[in-house]
């Protein structure tokens, strides 16, 4: 195995191996100290400190299976992706955005799948959850409504009424983001939207959870950087300010290389965060930090729209 690992560095890694490398980096393979008997088949070994290690090869296979099921649903709007945990909410929203599904982040109102008189009543054809334990209410309701359920299950997750369980770590923020990113990419590849050989231009970091303080920090940094550039070219900046703001308030800011501003490109998904964070900026007279790293060229504007 060691030889193969060393040899792997020399030849190019297959898609599956690259994915597994990414999953290892995101700690997807780390389970918990307990193991549910139905998850035993996915466990590789128990570490000396008591934590069960999940076999990532099997995780990858289950992800493929789940992707096939998702693709089989003709109308993607009939799929509901859900997460009550904060760590999974951003991932779930991004997943829904890229695959065309419907996202529910936060509390699941009991009766959404069973009470036909509720305004939020919906009858999905498929349900995807981040954790069977915290999302137990939707599981119960889907059982009443003949809705198949896919869930990311940790080693100690109850598997009752879960039809496809993907063994993975559903506690870590990077882990959940990574899994949804992989699933989304697989679904798009199977649908033919992305070609299998090419890299997906959407970054994994987009699916990671951001703390609100962290998000604010990043945007402040982005605001601070272009300051001195703006002062030299103030008049042009005024025009820019007006133009840019009218056209795309909702578009996430551009940072195509994504070097420093790794997480900055995607503001809080609802878009409200962006409005709040962005509104004070033009008031200061500083051109929005959006195109900061690349400079004030014309090039900045078209790339912003290209991102849209």
């Amino acid at each position: 195995m060691a030889a193969a690992a060393g040899g792997g560095a020399v030849r190019a890694l297959s898609q599956k191996e690259q994915d597994i490398q990414m999953m290892l980096a995101a700690d997807v393979h780390l389970g918990t100290k307990n193991c549910d008997f139905q998850m035993e088949r996915y466990v590789f070994k128990r570490r000396t400190d008591g934590i069960y290690i999940i076999n990532l090869g099997k995780t990858w296979e289950k992800l493929q299976l789940a992707a096939r099921v998702i693709v089989a649903i003709e109308n993607p709007q009939d799929i509901i992706v859900q997460s009550a945990r904060p760590y999974g909410q951003r991932a779930v929203l991004k997943f829904a955005q890229y695959t065309g599904a419907h996202a529910i982040a936060g509390r699941h109102t009991p009766g959404t799948f069973t009470n036909q008189l509720q305004t939020s009543f919906s009858e999905p054809r498929l349900l995807i959850l981040t954790d069977p334990r915290t999302d137990h209410q939707p599981i119960k309701e889907s059982a009443l409504g003949n809705i198949p359920t896919i869930a990311f299950c940790d080693t100690d997750s109850p598997m009752r009424y879960v039809d496809i369980g993907i063994p993975a770590n559903n506690k870590g923020r990077n882990s959940i983001g990574c899994l949804f990113w992989l699933l989304a990419r697989m679904v798009l590849q199977m649908r033919g939207t992305i070609l299998p050989g090419h890299k997906w231009e959407v970054m994994v970091d987009l699916f990671f959870y951001r703390d609100p303080e962290e998000a604010k920090e990043q945007e402040e940094e982005a605001a601070a950087a272009p300051d001195f550039a703006a002062i030299t070219d103030y008049q042009g900046a005024e025009q820019w300010g007006a133009e840019q703001w009218t056209s795309d308030v909702a578009v996430p800011p551009v940072a195509p290389t994504g070097a420093d501003w790794g997480a900055a490109p995607a503001p809080v998904p609802t878009g409200d965060g962006w409005d709040q964070a962005g509104a004070p900026v033009p008031a200061d007279g500083v051109v929005p930090p959006v195109a900061a790293p690349t400079g004030w060229d014309q090039a900045a504007q078209p790339t912003a729209q290209g991102w849209e």
Binding site: E74, G111, N115, Q116, Q118, E123, R125, N146
Partner: protein, 275 residues
């Protein structure tokens, strides 16, 4: 207090006098619901569930298609449309009371059996402050609970099935009801209460045997209903062949269901709950 309570109870009994007296059972055949001044509500049905929409459009023609996929039925109009010959009968109205510090609070519990005398029965139980409301609610619940009844032969498969396919038994509370296949011409050999249910089911000949406190009409009727449900749960050699899976209606008609429903919010005769 007790006296006043007793009097009140007496008053109520007097008020619902038809039912108080004939409470034993077969009085009060309310056929087909009231056509009174309520026509508008009944005519315009705006389906809320996917299944409702499909039934209204006419994509689903037989209720058997719903049974095949075990789809939950939430709107009674679905059943009304798919099973046209449904008749209903009020089995019993009992007043039930709860004690409050200002006397007793009486409500009326209605047991309604619904059926088309040809293989479909439903049972509904509803409790409400007024008799009429209880009956109406029970009829709706009965329609929602309509199940298919399997009929078979006693021996010699000539003509149409007329009896239960095998010995089946149903239980509710302490009451167990056992149904045994009978030869043609025996008729329904049962007590008054289960006889009604079996007539609605469309079973012509059967021998029954019951045990437990059959006085409690609620349990007795539920036990026979449970027994009838089990007729299709019994595995016989006809079901040994491998099932050919059929697409669920939600998958088959996914394009139709994807279309948005307009005008739903404008006139909503039914109540909605803000979630």
């Amino acid at each position: 207090m007790a006296d006043r309570g007793g009097q009140r109870g007496g008053d109520r009994g007097g008020f619902g006098r038809g039912f108080g007296r004939g409470g034993r059972g077969d009085r009060g055949g309310r056929r087909g619901g009231r056509r009174g001044g309520r026509q508008q509500e009944e005519e315009k049905w705006v389906p809320v569930t996917k299944l409702g929409r499909l039934v209204k459009e006419g994509r689903i023609n037989k209720i058997e298609e719903i049974y095949l996929h075990s789809l939950p039925v939430k709107e009674h109009q679905i059943v009304e449309q798919l099973v046209p010959g449904l008749k209903d009968e009020v089995m019993k109205i009992t007043p039930v009371q709860k004690q409050t510090r200002a006397g007793q609070r009486t409500r009326f519990k209605a047991f309604v059996v619904v059926g088309d005398c040809d293989g479909h029965v439903g049972l509904g139980v509803k409790c409400a402050k007024e008799v009429a409301t209880a009956i109406r609610g029970a009829i709706i619940l009965a329609k929602l609970s309509v199940v298919p009844v399997r009929r078979g032969y006693w021996g010699n498969k000539i003509g149409q099935p007329h009896t239960v396919p095998c010995k089946v038994t149903g239980k509710c509370g302490s009451v167990t009801v056992r149904m045994v296949p009978a030869p043609r011409g025996s008729g329904i050999v049962a007590a008054r209460v289960p006889k009604k249910v079996l007539q609605f089911a469309g079973i012509d000949d059967v021998f029954t045997s019951s045990r437990g406190s059959t006085k409690t009409l609620g349990n007795f009727v539920k036990a026979t209903f449970d027994c009838l449900m089990k007729t299709y749960g019994f595995l016989t050699p006809e079901f040994w062949t491998e099932t050919k899976y059929v697409k669920t209606p939600f998958q088959e008609f996914t394009d139709l269901l994807a279309k948005p429903t307009k005008g739903l919010l404008i006139d909503a005769p039914t109540e909605t709950v803000e979630a």
